[in-house]
Assembly symmetry: C2
Homo-oligomer: 326 residues x 2
């Protein structure tokens, strides 16, 4: 099943069910007004949503309209909680080496609490104050859970993963090390993220939902040129393990989004990277100096993961960086 | 003006206006259903809320009922954003010395993004998984803003501070250093906070709202014994400066809560502390060893700041720590 959110004049938009080929969508009228509402009573509404999805794919759903009739927002235009992991060891190890930091602990995932009151739509222009902050993208996968009880283990956590999403975790690299050194984590270095338009249930991924991970390449294009196509399976900790880590001392509210961290593979020299910082890190290791600059105003980034047969899954993030008006 | 939120069966409760002496309250019916709603259109509703406050104090407001008739929640039972500073230098310097960390930068405040999907009511029991995590309180002041534009400076930020609140930032001290070392900040070490029942407009503090700070002692009692009465004025950065720091790379949504960090004074040996970690730090410096243990299940903590004339301001946080059922 594929769900999305369309503009409605309210901050949370309205929930739609999207056809498998993304050609059409219908409002989930009478089932749940918003995705947040659906997640708060998931087991009550999932059946009705799946029935509607069948009708959407058959072309018989009431109010069915072509994709072009809707203005898609992020599946959750705002969320009560966003916790982002950093589960790809090849990325973490490279960054630690370049920045001469202690290697990350291996017995627990890395995770930070990020701003959640806004997620940009996939094609929205993204404003930044200054290029001097080091504007970078981070291509990620993520999951959305319904309510997860305190102390939930990974096995039980897996059952609370209701949706899989694709995220661009915007990062300001010249602010990040200043904030990391304090131990307090990032505030200024991590403004709002963007989300691809379609959230899918794990079963929609078929065999590509493997070991609690997304076994698909995430294709990242910067200004039209392929920048990376790392596979999402290489996580050291699975999504259920990330969810359980987060739930160790708190229950997770329905609609909590948990991210994988920037997708990275050990053979990054072959498959490329999902963020500029990683490419710069490779350059520093190989050539003693980073020569790839961060993003400029006007630059575009496109991120998409398709199924093995080339079918769309989450839709594409395709956006432009612009100068903020302050 | 004093605002609070009462239980209504919904997650956000309902907005009430509270009398200056806390004896009575009335629903803000027809003005705003919830505090979040009021904050989203503050300049439109502030006049009507202040008119109602006058009627509440005069005893003429419709639906006025005694304090005992209401079940008070946190003013914001959940918020879209919670950013906590650490603005008391005496606390930060002590902690850095004890834990042999680099001293904090002086040119920018420390701040972390905390979980915001739940704030405990002031008298709610607070569940934790295990005493072995090192359960600690942190008495703080905080402010709630309406929408703050990206790049907003401290002067402009001051005008967006609509309410002042009193917070207990629950902390798990044995998890904190593990998470700090990663540079990613706290997730497991910072579960949900608690909030005193009454949020006040800055003018309600009179002369005690001074230099964008709360110039009042925060009295902290642990199991009935006075533990600290440090004054809130000793912040190295004012609340407007904390708000501006947060808004450097993001606009702040209405209802964002910004905390001071644990209240601390340079003469902590005389006035005591607002968290156990600070007292343990003093013991380590003075005696080479911390002999004060963290909290046990069944322990209580009470925190209250009163006006110079002894009038209630935010009401008290008075809660018990209990073992979570997992």
């Amino acid at each position: 099943m594929k769900l999305s959110t369309v503009a409605s004049g309210s901050r949370d938009g309205r929930l739609v069910v999207v056809s498998r080929d993304h050609a059409r969508a219908a409002l989930a009228d009478g089932i749940a007004a918003t995705l947040q509402e659906a997640l708060e009573c998931w087991t009550d509404v999932e059946g009705a949503l799946r029935d509607l999805a069948t009708e959407v794919d058959a072309g018989t759903a009431p109010g069915l309209a072509p994709q072009s009739a809707w203005q898609f927002l992020a599946p959750l235009p705002r969320a009560w909680q966003w916790l982002d992991g950093s589960a790809f060891e090849s990325h973490g190890a490279l960054m630690a080496k370049v920045f001469k930091m202690d290697p990350a602990p291996r017995d627990r995932p890395l995770m930070y609490q990020g701003m959640s009151d806004r997620f940009y739509a996939a094609t929205e222009k993204v404003p930044f104050v200054t290029e001097a902050d080091g504007i970078d993208f981070e291509g990620e996968f993520g999951v959305i859970v319904d309510e997860v009880p305190l102390g939930c283990g990974p096995h039980e956590a897996a059952a609370h993963i209701r949706l899989v999403v694709q995220i661009n975790d915007w990062s300001l690299r010249n602010l990040a090390p200043i904030e990391m050194r304090t131990g307090f984590g990032w505030v200024q270095a991590k403004p709002a993220c963007s989300m691809a338009p379609v959230a899918v249930t794990p079963d929609e991924l078929g065999a590509a939902w493997r070991d609690g991970r997304v076994d698909l390449p995430l294709e990242v294009y910067w200004n039209g040129a392929l920048f990376g196509r790392a596979n999402g399976h290489a996580m050291s900790f699975s999504f259920p393990e990330l969810v359980a880590h987060a739930a160790r001392t708190r229950s997770l509210c329905a609609g909590t989004i948990i991210g994988s961290g920037t997708v990275s593979n050990p053979n990054y020299r072959d498959v490329g990277s999902s963020c500029i910082a990683e490419r710069r890190g490779i350059e520093i290791l190989d050539e003693g100096k980073a020569w790839t600059a961060f993003m400029s105003f006007g630059d575009r980034v496109r991120m998409e993961a398709r199924s093995d047969s080339g079918q769309p899954l989450f839709g594409a993030i395709d956006q432009q960086v612009v100068r903020a008006r302050t």
